[in-house]
């Protein structure tokens, strides 16, 4: 087992237009794209929305990582096709897959390019309480640490003869116990250590804290925000007045 797929959600410091954007712009992008994805179920329209994400992905030099995260979901896509075709239509399964790809891509665009500290600041600017914002960003900060630890646990257990067994679902689940229990125990221990470290540094001793770093909107942010909002309004208009669109956009598979 490898934890390489975790890399697909790990922030790496880079200097691209997308990385330099304000986290709130990127959050808005993720939210608008998700709403649009839920609003439509026509394959071509969803596909068109999906295509408009690519400029952002390429501008942020994220193509390789994005491919990884999509590849990680291949199994889910397969399930979606099977179950939707069985209980609904094939067309629906395809639109469902594109819909999920839009949501995952837009949110991974956010998590891949927002530094955990900025993530916290953007949550606070949305009036999320500091405690909650801090624990949220802390949990993201620890994803790579836990991935490393999981690898160490696998190494330690393999060294004493543990084998990844193939077999039925139950035996496979049982087989995970030697990995999951140490992982949970270590994570709990670390959580207590962090809590102690926070307490010893007087976390939460004052109600209104100040911030050393701040995030600010630039011209580029405003530009992208305006484009996003126009795009969103256009989406709503088209949804309300579908006659505005050519017929072929509403094509679906016959099955």
């Amino acid at each position: 087992m490898s934890f390489e797929f975790m890399q697909a959600f790990k922030f790496i410091q880079m200097k691209t237009i997308i990385h330099n954007l304000d986290p709130r712009t990127k959050l808005l992008l993720a939210i608008i794209y998700s709403i649009l994805a839920i609003m439509f179920e026509e394959i071509f329209i969803l596909f068109f929305i999906f295509l408009t994400l690519f400029p952002f992905i390429f501008a942020g030099q994220l193509f390789k990582k994005w491919i990884k995260s999509i590849r990680g979901m291949a199994f889910l896509f397969l399930l979606l096709i099977i179950f939707n075709t069985l209980f609904s239509t094939f067309s629906k399964s395809i639109s469902m897959i594109i819909r999920i790809m839009i949501m995952v891509s837009s949110f991974s665009l956010f998590f891949l390019t927002v530094h955990p500290d900025d993530l916290m600041l953007s949550l606070i600017s949305l009036k999320v309480p500091y405690n909650i914002a801090f624990s949220f960003s802390l949990s993201f900060r620890f994803v790579p640490t836990i991935a490393i630890e999981a690898q160490n646990i696998i190494d330690a257990q393999k060294s004493r003869g543990y084998e990844m067994e193939q077999g039925g679902l139950i035996s496979q689940a049982k087989n995970l116990i030697p990995l999951l229990i140490p992982l949970i125990v270590c994570s709990m221990k670390r959580a207590f250590h962090i809590a102690e470290a926070l307490d010893s540094r007087a976390f939460g001793s004052t109600k209104n804290r100040t911030y050393y770093y701040s995030i600010s909107y630039t011209k580029k942010d405003w530009l992208i925000t305006v484009i996003l909002i126009i795009f969103f309004i256009f989406g709503i208009i088209v949804k309300v007045f579908p006659v505005l669109l050519p017929d072929w956009l509403f094509w679906r598979f016959p099955v």
């Binding site: 160490n152 190494d155 330690a156």
Partner: protein, 291 residues
Amino acid sequence: MEKKLENLQILVNHLTYHYPDGTIALKGINLNIYSGEIVGIMGKNGAGKSTLIKTFNGLLKPTTGTVYIENDEVNNVLMSKLTRKVGIVFQNPDLQLFANTVEDEIRFSLKNLNFTKTELENQINLTLEKFKLKKFQNRTPFTLSGGEKKRLAIASIMCRNPEIIVFDEPTIGQDAEGVEFIRNLIKEKHSEGKTIIIVTHDIEFAIDNIPRTILMADGLIIADGPTNKILSQDQILNIGSLISPQLIILSKFLIDSGIKVPDDVYLKENMIQFLGSFFKEKMEISEGGKF
């Protein structure tokens, strides 16, 4: 045992290892370890020590180069066979304890070794007694103290009776009793003819217990030889971010002060003996016994 070709147990040739993220951890390692040796591996954090030992039991496959464990090339052997020959005791016991009872923890390690039921129970009992864990037999491992957990983690590897035993930082976080236990265990396993490899930063432990040391820096072996020689050369120590053990500093000071000292005073007993006879001699010279 002598350093003869037929006693060669680990042979590493031009070994390199690249991690998937592009980090080059080993840059061409050549190493011979003979049967029955006690070998220390020292070096800064990130020097490649852990990566090197993980290639011995197949956890990591060499990127280029070869590693032979007793005539078997690690790339061509199943990991289950390698872990039987090479037992690695990891630094943090919390990474491997999971079972309901201490006994089950040992049982898990013996699972794939084809023991009959009575043999299995015997082996578990023997191990528990040897590692002074019998009284905890039915307790959950999570309520043990740090030292007891470490003992259990070591026991869970030792019960598999590997020919080559690798300790990763065995003395870290251990109290005097724990260190003494590990010291005795190493002596015992050495007398049984096992090969022992110890990754450590603990120079005082190394000078007392490890005859041969390999010093690594930046993915390469920069020194390989008797521990006392390596830990007394300033240039090597600087590269490895190490400081000399106290007795080597003392013996250097004595030599600089013009006092003739034997070669082996870096060992505690020898230094005590030397200083004892040295002062006795001095006392006899000055006023027939009065200091």
